[in-house]
Symmetry: C2
Subunit: 268 residues, 2 copies
Amino acid sequence: MATGLPADDRGLAYGDGLFETIRVVAGRAPLWTWHMERLEEGCRRLHLPQPAPGMLADEVSAAADGLDDAVVRITWTAGSGPRGYARQAMVPGRMIVVASAVHPADPFMATHGVALFECSTRWSLQPKLAGIKHLNRLEQVLARAEWDDPSFTDGLMLDMDGRVISTTAASIGLVVDGVPMFPALHRCGVAGVGRRLAMASLPGVVETDIDRAMLVSASEVFLASSVRGMLPVRAIGDRHYAAGPVAKALQAAWNAAGMPPLRHPEQP
Amino acid sequence: MATGLPADDRGLAYGDGLFETIRVVAGRAPLWTWHMERLEEGCRRLHLPQPAPGMLADEVSAAADGLDDAVVRITWTAGSGPRGYARQAMVPGRMIVVASAVHPADPFMATHGVALFECSTRWSLQPKLAGIKHLNRLEQVLARAEWDDPSFTDGLMLDMDGRVISTTAASIGLVVDGVPMFPALHRCGVAGVGRRLAMASLPGVVETDIDRAMLVSASEVFLASSVRGMLPVRAIGDRHYAAGPVAKALQAAWNAAGMPPLRHPEQP
């Protein structure tokens, strides 16, 4: 683990930076390209320098070395600077890479689905920060702190206007009238890499504003995460869902991408 | 300066923490109590443990030792934790204290006022984070990055609905029809300690929603900062203001609080 971050790092001071959490399986990161594209887009949006791609790959490989199945977190900050919101010209940026082992997926969850807590903490609307994976994550921290009942795997988060956006740590998708859909993310939210894999593998998928009420009419609800994979949602409040064909197709796409199976092979 | 922050600190990972920047003059922090009250309120709102007050005072004294006039930044984070938004139970918190010397105030600014850039980056609305000085400051960083012309001392920031909230780094106040007023901060913004001093010293001051248009009818506009003091605003865009009696009264209150004078004694 990297240690010894200088106390004047702007990532600590102001959350001035970005991160990626990348699943690395047997030394290979199946969704690497998309993580790098999101990180590059984040640098453009925050006016940060781009990290050198070769250096990043080397650091991630080194961090994951010896782990069969790891999550490697890359944090990319605006580096050290004097007090104040103004960045110095020509900041070099600072990279922090930390790996942790992945616990095997729970096949019950992958087959039968997960229950979501309904968080009262909402996404604020900020188009300048929407979509990118920046370090300002207090809304997710506060939302996650709303429950400690382990029967809830994650928590549903709406935006300030009541639209469905995500869970605290994953992308969410729905099937309404046979059409798979994901929330539009131009006002808030994180453009998940698991979501991107899901959208790439679902013909006819749409991105749209999703009102809270549409969860009631959905035939299927599912989560997409580049770390945890594709999981059906079985309950949100008193609304229950059956694990459906779309979540199953997404799990097949997950496996095809080179990720470890989420379900036991003998499971239906 | 503290060094060697662990890479798994949640302040870095998610901006999970708070900060204060405290002016320390000849070993004494005139606005200490209000800084501590805001920090305590932030801990309550973010469900963080409270730092031990005695320890804080000792650390700040030690950091400012040898500096006649210093700004001491206290950063108080949720401490180290494993990957993920969920905090561990009983986090101890982590304190980082860094001091820097203060440059003497520019007496021209204090007398004749400062010009504000009009930032396009807006405050998003998030009542759960409004008022406290947390570490999620990308909106201020982006707003501050909008100009580099040094003739602008700071930048005006509105909220998503077009209300006047603050500059990037200070509180803002107005005088309209003879009534001094500050923006209400229950949707966004930071409840500045300089603003608190200003409000305590202005009879009849009100806190209210301030529409952008009210800047046109204001007879006086001023900034309040616990670090930089009380400054008249002389221009926002093509609207010009004279330095007025309210800003002058606030500078007297600043001096009376034990802070260094902002103007030359011989200035009118």
